[in-house]
Amino acid sequence: MSHSSVDLAARCRGLVKDFVSGATAQRVLDGVDCDIPFSAMTLLVGPSGCGKTTLVSLLAGLLDPTAGEVMVLGTDIGRLRGKSKVQFRGRNIGFVFQQYNLLPALTARENAAVPMIINGAPRRRALEKSTELLERVGLATKADALPKNLSGGQQQRVAIARALVHDPRLLLCDEPTAALDAASGRTVMDLLRAVAVGPDRAVLIVTHDSRIYDRGDRMIVMADGKVTATLEEKSMFAGHEQTGAT
């Protein structure tokens, strides 16, 4: 049932996160333990406000933990600082956001090339690689289109190409299908499975969307800042329908 740490893309132990505003502190994560193995698509579910996005932000090193440990690809990302943290994130982690956050002035091809360019790759190579990824997400014909001329599902596919262009080993997706209709949502999930899951790669998907539960391999269930269950079998997912707000 449990994975040896070698197979783990990420591992959290006793993770605590408080948001302090003025004199009051709100404990949003309260001792989270979880594992995210390679070669699998892990779903992170739970009611609205239970701390899913906060956990993803900690895994990405976009927030610092109040206490506990976040190991990502063998590195304690909570301890990294400044440039080395930004660089670590830039090289190893890919993101897919609910709002696709594409740069409006750039074509699909250029948008998808951005992470490689950030990592210092020559523009030509980055554009070649992004063209290749756009092919894999089925958008070869739209490579020169601007985001405003693409549908939501197409924009999210561009975002997936962008998230994967620099071969990150951990892909973090927060509600990637929430803004899409059911069919586009399923297409996106299938795409993620096909292009993002691999022997040395892990995918974590935060979702509210029970329609796509069957696309996951494992499920981490959260409530109230804690992990309440980790389900390793698809057959068990069904009982964990959406409980919070949509």
């Binding site: 932000s57 990405a60 994130r89 956001f97 709002q99 409006p104 002035a105 750039l106 951005v114 950030i118």
Partner: protein
């Protein structure tokens, strides 16, 4: 990353044009106004700077600017000639008086009466006639712009006559002269002729034009003349051409509203340019804030973001600067033949100064918005 920064900037044409407009506007207004200001002030010293056959101007010490010099007694001329190092010292009368034109018109003119034997201080570039003819009776030479003031819309013609102080003046030459601040016609005559036109004062000469032995330090010679003149009835001032020009310019700067007037316009150019640029830049950054957040999440650190924003500012700044200077150049090119603006234009120091100011504007404008990006939580991209 530079590529990305520029793509983001020009990929938002409305805001890019907004920023460009702000910079172009500021550049045009500031460069055009400063050029006019400097050129206009320089005109107050035109008649000083036009004279190249004398190094030093000697005048009554109370003189504050060229149009306000009391007359000097003839002894002063001889005393200046006696100062060691002085090769020549000749009289000059510089005055304004009225000219009555044949068809009844009346104009105020500037008259420069030149030392009879040497004609020192005479114009050098003639369009018609010649300097020799200045020795004829009643002869005056007039500058070209002045001719058109005296005889508007009439062809340049020699031997036209008019009257000053009820005495005949005949135009024997038309020359080029730098426009005076007042854009009055500039007339040249022999000193002896000028005494006929001017009211009968005991003394008329109000300047002594001095040349030193080649190689003498002009400042040393000025000091020698001044210290000699300490002992006389009234002290004299001896100034190099540049010093006297500066003194005249400074007088106009200090005692007229011109600098305030231009200062306000130039400051407005700066402020309005900064406001437009700053606000549009701020909008540009705030509207792209999610994108900047995404870039931050994807591994762009603050240093690189600041670099990107400054580069965007720099690109918009240089483009707007080029456009603004181009437009100002078109203005001066287009007005080159308007006498009121003749000789006006920009100069290298101005171009450099405006470039620096524009860079300050875009840097300030981008700094306004950089703060927003610096404090941006990259985790916000998930919201």
């Amino acid at each position: 990353m530079a590529w990305l920064a520029i793509k983001m900037l020009v990929g938002d044409p409305v805001k890019y044009l907004g920023i460009l407009f702000g910079v172009t506007f500021a550049t045009l207004l500031m460069s055009q106004q400063i050029a006019i200001f400097v050129s206009l002030l320089k005109r107050t010293a035109s008649q000083i700077l036009d004279i190249h056959d004398a190094d030093i101007w000697v005048m009554d010490k109370v003189t504050r600017f060229i149009d306000e010099a009391p007359a000097l007694p003839d002894q002063d001329l001889y005393r200046v000639r006696s100062v060691p190092g002085v090769v020549s010292a000749v009289r000059l009368v510089y005055s304004q008086l009225g000219a009555r034109l044949p068809h009844g018109g009346y104009r105020t003119v500037i008259l420069m009466g030149l030392d009879d034997p040497s004609l020192s201080g005479a114009p050098t570039r003639f369009i018609a006639g010649s300097l020799q003819r200045l020795r004829e009776p009643d002869a005056v030479v007039v500058d070209k712009a002045g001719y058109t003031y005296l005889f508007p819309n009439e062809p340049l013609e020699l031997d036209r006559v008019f009257e000053m102080n009820e005495r005949r003046a005949r135009i024997v030459g038309i020359c080029e002269a730098s426009q005076p601040f007042t854009t009055l016609p500039v007339l040249f005559s022999r000193y002896s002729q000028a005494t006929q036109y001017l009211p009968p004062n005991r003394n008329l000469m109000n300047y002594i034009l001095v040349r030193g032995t080649p190689g003498t330090d002009q400042q040393v010679l000025c000091d020698a003349i001044e210290s000699m003149a300490q002992t006389g009835p009234r002290p004299l001032a001896a100034l190099t051409r540049e010093q006297f020009a500066m003194k005249t310019v400074n007088y106009y700067m200090e005692s007229t509203g011109i600098p305030v007037n231009f200062g306000i316009t130039i400051t407005l150019g700066f402020i309005v340019g900064l406001a437009i640029t700053g606000q549009t830049f701020y909008l540009f950054v705030t509207e792209n804030i999610r994108q900047f957040g995404a870039l931050k999440a994807m591994g762009v650190d603050n240093t690189r973001l600041v670099g990107m924003i400054l580069l965007q500012g720099f690109v918009a700044g240089s483009t707007g600067y080029g456009l603004g200077i181009g437009l100002a150049a078109c203005f001066f090119e287009g007005t080159a033949h308007v006498p009121a603006l003749e000789g006006f234009g920009m100069f290298p120091g101005l171009l450099v100064g405006i470039a620096l100011t524009v860079m300050a504007i875009v840097t300030l404008a981008s700094l306004l918005s950089i703060r927003k990006v610096l404090v941006l939580e990259p985790a916000m991209v998930f919201r």
